[in-house]
């Protein structure tokens, strides 16, 4: 842009096949050719991996050089004259020779190889190879295929030894246990005997393998590329917001691929996004509207089901009974908006909540500010000089954001992790600051205080009030020094669980502002940012507007035709508590009986509510307790938009029609609204028009009110918990091979707290609301004074609660 070009970026002029081209210094010939639309054949080259120069397929002639050079390793130079296979005999001869070499040991597997039809080797051979082979001796043989993980199968005979898979694992994912072994024609990809290949990114090696050497155990022999339909859409399994291509064969979902998007997911996705699609076509899907009659669910027509619900809504309204909405966080934005509008205009209530863990007043303030504020984007991670994560395990909770942070770490950017349990993700230069759950607010208050002592004058009054009485430890001092040192170039990424510690989220927000950094909120679920935007919250309306502000409410008169209710609604906890008095309790994609912080209370609330309607794909713990279950479409079955963690709108596009009679949530809501006698937008376009009218232009951050800080955690052991990427959730249904790659449930404890426990022995953890039994792992990846139990362990403990651990008897 306006900045002067550095030597690195200064353009270099050269010709390729006689055409002039000008590219930044340092560009490789192969990339310069791409700029001109010329594709130099390659196998080992991959733009996101370090150059290797191993396959030699990309040979080109460079004037003045005796030998042909590899285009994928040779940077351009001023005045260079490059000739590719189109104009150079030498280049063409070189490439043909290499191709012939690659084929001598390549099996004649094409008819039964998954790669057939999308294989660069096949294409290359077809385009340039001779019809028959001069090579008549035996080919190299290996046992095949061999599984290298439950998801990935390796065929060494087909491998062209390009080292893309091994470089991906080493350079991109940081999972080293796949390597090249042996040498000569016996060189082969392999895994170690004593170290399994464990990676949540393993599917990418299948996708970038240029031949059919790595195939997926789930897709093998299922379809040919030309026999599939593809839809480009967005993954909804976490807030990273990866672009994916969903492929179907005769209506059956068979494969998900990463789609290139260099601003978000580069060319990668995680294994959950890739392999966890079978749920959508599970036989357990609810495919018809169900209404409870005499205690049993009975399948009914949409007309009947909608009428039953509408009648209850009308009756409740007439009886002056309140209704309430509990939303999930996987809705697409249009559904979230429709739901928020439905609650306000049809049910007439602000009793709406999409949160699973409830925070303090600072959480309300941050959620209100998100739609109006410029927050962190992936590009901020790319250019940051310091990255701090607080209360989030990116590797498990937003894997592609993790890869971006890892990429920054590989460049030498310091990465600081503040959490109760050190992430398993392997980031070069990462430093971990252990913090017991519940103490994050105190830690941040100390950092704020140390910042002020270092002359930072950007802290707001509520932060300065909150930090009084906290004496910064040396750790806090040091963090403050790091933050102050990179003023303006820091990215602070916080997890949603920080909200459960009153004051912490607000402090993180205000500290970010004080050091002129960018703040990123990394919720666990794909629809969380959209839910926040839509106002699926008792105090918020779409666009972060406040229910209590007359000015804010005024925006809706024109769009909705009615004013939203003006009293702050009740949050999820209060809704469950007062369930017996509710008219209608509507669940949309929510399963609070499984994942609400106090799920026992949620289950009781659902049991006690007189009438529960659930929009869902499955008969979950919660839907089972409903009176009416309305089948909702899966993400692969509908169109829409999702805001990823950055707040970037990502398009969602249907790959298959909805299962059975399922419909998109907004369509269901529109029909109920119609039947209950209200005006309601009927189409996606109509919803989008309203959303557009309510959009707010994001601006620079304002400080938020921090409020009362969380009390420090109890002495003794406290619980830390979150869900790993691969859990036992509803949306893992049917993904058996993927589930086999999930880590087993273990209770983790620091050696200082182990008191005689040894790794592997069964223990029982007692929490106020329940207990869990599992083997223990004694590890210094968990903070002292902390017991970590993964959230899917089937256990009702909450982070920050006092717990005890003892040997399991018997």
């Amino acid at each position: 842009m306006g900045a002067p070009l550095t030597a690195e970026q200064a353009p270099v002029n050269l010709t390729i096949d006689g055409e002039d081209v000008s590219v930044p210094a340092g560009t490789l010939i192969i990339r310069a050719a791409e700029e001109m639309g010329k594709y130099i054949p390659r196998f080992c080259d991959h733009p996101l991996l370090d150059p290797l120069g191993a396959c030699r397929q990309c040979l080109v002639e460079v004037e003045g050089q005796r030998k042909p050079l590899t285009a994928c390793t040779t940077p351009v130079a001023e005045g260079m004259v490059v000739k590719t296979e189109f104009t150079s005999e030498l280049a063409r001869d070189g490439q043909e020779g290499v191709l012939e070499f690659l084929l001598i040991n390549h099996p004649l597997d094409c008819p039964m190889c998954d790669k057939g039809g999308e294989c660069p080797l096949q294409d290359q051979a077809l385009a340039y190879g001779p019809g028959s082979s001069r090579y008549i001796d035996p080919k190299r043989r290996f046992t095949k295929p061999v599984p290298i993980s439950p998801l990935v199968k390796l065929d060494r005979e087909r491998c062209v030894l390009c080292a893309r898979c091994t470089r991906f694992s080493d350079q991109i994912a940081g999972d080293p246990f796949i390597e090249l072994f042996e040498r000569s024609a016996l060189e082969q990809v392999a895994i170690f005997e004593d170290e399994p290949y464990e990676s949540i990114f393993s599917g990418n090696v299948i996708q970038i393998c240029p031949v059919g050497a790595l195939t997926s155990s789930t897709f093998r022999f299922r379809a040919r590329p030309f026999d599939m339909a593809s839809a480009d859409t967005t993954c909804n399994r976490c807030a990273s917001g990866c672009r994916i291509t969903v492929q179907t064969r005769r209506g059956e979902l068979v494969r998900v691929l990463a789609k290139d998007d260099h601003e978000v997911n580069d060319e990668w996705i995680c294994d959950k996004g890739r392999f966890a699609h079978p749920y959508a076509q599970s036989p357990e899907r609810v495919v018809e509207p169900l209404v409870r009659k005499n205690g049993e669910f009975v399948a009914v027509s949409w007309a009947e089901a909608v009428q039953v619900v509408a009648d209850r809504i009308t009756a409740a309204r007439e009886a002056g009974k309140g209704s309430a909405v509990i939303a999930g966080q996987q809705l697409v934005d249009e559904d979230a908006y429709a739901l928020s509008r439905f609650a306000r205009t049809v049910l007439g209530t602000n009793d709406v909540d999409a949160r699973r863990v409830l925070g303090g007043e600072d959480e309300d303030a941050v959620l209100a500010a998100l739609p109006k504020t410029i927050t962190a984007a992936n590009q901020d991670i790319d250019t940051a000089k310091l990255i701090v994560t607080i209360g989030v395990d990116l590797h498990e909770e937003s894997p592609i954001v993790f890869l971006r942070v890892r990429k920054a770490g590989r460049k030498g950017v310091p990465v600081r992790e503040i959490s109760a349990r050190r992430s398993a993700g392997n980031v070069q230069g990462a430093r971990w600051t252990a913090c017991r759950p519940g103490e994050e607010a105190t830690l941040l208050a100390g950092v704020a205080r140390a910042l002020e002592a270092r002359g930072n004058s950007g802290l707001d009054p509520s932060t300065r009030a909150a930090m009084q009485g906290v004496d910064p430890t040396s750790e806090m001092q040091e963090l403050a020094a790091a933050l102050q040192g990179v003023h303006g170039s820091v990215v602070i990424l916080v997890g949603e669980r920080l909200a459960a510690v009153p004051g912490a989220l607000g402090l993180a927000w205000n500290i970010t502002k004080a050091v002129d950094g960018t703040f990123g909120w990394i919720p666990r679920k794909a629809g969380a940012r959209g839910a926040a935007w839509a106002g699926l919250h008792p105090a918020l309306l779409p666009g972060g507007r406040s229910v209590e502000s007359t000015d804010d409410r005024a925006a809706f008169g024109e769009v909705w035709g009615i004013d939203p209710p003006s009293r702050r609604g009740r949050d999820a906890r209060a809704i469950f508590r007062t369930a017996p008095e509710l008219g209608v309790l509507l669940l949309a994609g929510a399963d609070p009986a499984t994942d609400f912080a106090d799920r026992q209370q949620a289950a009781r609330g659902l049991d006690d509510a007189p009438f529960v309607v659930a929009l869902d794909m499955f008969l979950t713990e919660s839907a089972r307790r409903a009176d009416v279950v309305l089948p909702a479409a899966a993400a692969y079955e509908r169109n829409g938009t999702v805001l990823n963690w950055e707040g970037r709108p990502r398009p969602v596009k249907a790959a298959v029609p909805p299962a059975g009679l399922a419909q998109a949530d907004y369509e269901i809501l529109a029909q109920i609204a119609n039947a209950a006698g209200g005006e309601f937008p009927q189409t996606l376009e109509a919803l989008r028009k309203e959303i557009k009218a309510l959009l707010v232009q994001p601006a620079a951050a304002h400080a938020v009110t921090v409020g009362q800080l969380a009390r420090p955690s109890a002495d003794g052991l406290v619980l830390a918990t979150h869900r790993p990427l691969l859990d036992d959730g509803t949306m893992m249904k049917g993904a058996d091979a993927l589930a086999q790659t999930a880590a087993p449930v273990v209770v983790e404890i620091n050696p200082a707290d182990a008191r005689g426990l040894t790794s592997g022995e069964p223990v029982v953890v007692h929490a106020p609301l329940g207990e869990v039994r599992a083997p223990v792992l004694v590890t210094d990846a968990v903070a002292r004074g902390v017991v970590f139990v993964p959230a899917h362990a089937g256990f009702a403990g909450r982070a920050g609660e006092a717990v005890t651990v003892e040997k399991a008897g018997g």
Partner: protein, 328 residues
């Protein structure tokens, strides 16, 4: 390394001092266990004597020597593969640039030289450069170790001035072809000599420029002698097998090309060679040279190209006889 390891250590130490380095490595091929033990012993003696270690002879200069034993890969003679191996990775050559002189071992500037080069240093320092230049020719000054092996009476290493005629080495020092047989061929510079020499080249002076003028390379100075009754196809097969076995596997031409040549040569030995195989092998060789990642691939073709050029009739005899004519 085996008999006089100290001259090597001394030469390296002088080199290290000259460039201000404080760390030295000797990478010793895994097979050379005796040499490695000798070096370890010599290094211990040098430490003992205060010639290595902290504050050498009161100079304030520290210097350490690490003897690193390889795991037996020929490719680790390639300087960047050697560096990779010392760093604990697979011995495969690195992309250059950056060159070792700027980004070498552990990304530090590094000088990589042959044992022979360092071993000359103490003598040059002691006697002066002019003394050293007094040996050899103008373009190839000094002395050279020639390793004579194969069908000679007295195989061994002989240090002579550059420019000594091959005849003096083979017939003089090494006592001539074994058993008084006639000479069929010899390599001027080891298996990697780009061209093997026949008896007509016996009077070639063994220095860089003369060997090159005669159509080959002096390489390592390993003179391997073949007597009249040696099968050159089998010799080519043995060499090519060696290269195929030692190919690091990284790049396609070397990995697959050597494999292909070995299979073809084996067929000749088994009596299934075809006339067209001679041309195909040369074509395969042409697709390796200049296209592989490092010099190992480039040199791997020499046995095939040399023998098919000089001894094409032996290949044809294999075809005609349906097997090896030298088999008794």
């Amino acid at each position: 390394m085996e008999r006089d390891p100290h001259q090597l250590i001394e030469g390296m130490a002088v080199g290290a001092y000259a460039i201000g380095s404080t760390e030295m490595y000797i990478f010793c091929r895994g097979e050379f266990a005796y040499a490695a033990r000798q070096l370890e012993r010599a290094a211990a003696e040098a430490y003992e004597a205060g010639i290595l270690g902290k504050n050498i002879m009161g100079s304030g200069y520290d210097l350490d020597l690490i003897i690193h034993r390889g795991a037996g890969a020929y490719i680790c003679g390639e300087e960047t593969a050697l560096l990779e191996a010392i760093e604990g990775r697979r011995g495969q050559p690195r992309l250059r640039p950056p060159f070792p002189a700027t980004h070498g071992l552990f990304s530090k500037p590094t000088v990589v030289n042959n044992v022979e080069t360092f071993a000359c240093v103490p003598h040059i320092i002691t006697n002066g450069a002019d003394w050293f230049k007094g040996f050899g020719t103008e373009k190839s000054p000094g002395t050279k170790m020639f390793c004579l092996s194969g069908d000679v009476e007295r195989p061994g290493n002989y240090e002579v001035p550059f420019g000594t005629p091959a005849r003096d080495l083979i017939e003089g020092f090494a006592g001539g072809v074994k058993g008084g047989k006639k000479l069929k061929a010899f390599t001027p510079g080891g298996a990697s000599s780009t061209q093997f020499f026949g008896p007509d080249k016996l009077d070639t002076n063994m220095d860089w420029e003369s060997v090159m003028a005669a159509g080959s390379l002096l390489g390592t100075g390993a003179i391997i002698v073949f007597a009249e009754d040696v099968c050159m196809v089998r010799a080519a097969l043995r060499y090519t097998r060696f290269y195929a076995h030692e190919s690091c596997g990284k790049c396609t031409p070397c990995r697959e090309g050597t494999y292909w040549m070995v299979n073809t040569l084996e067929r000749f030995e088994n009596g299934q060679g075809r006339e067209e195989d001679i041309a195909i092998m040369n074509d395969v060789a042409g697709n390796i040279i200049g296209r592989s990642f490092c010099a190992l691939g480039d040199f791997s073709i020499a046995p095939v190209t040399s023998t098919t050029k000089l001894f094409a009739d032996e290949y044809r005899q294999h075809i005609a006889k349906g097997g090896c004519p030298f088999d008794r």
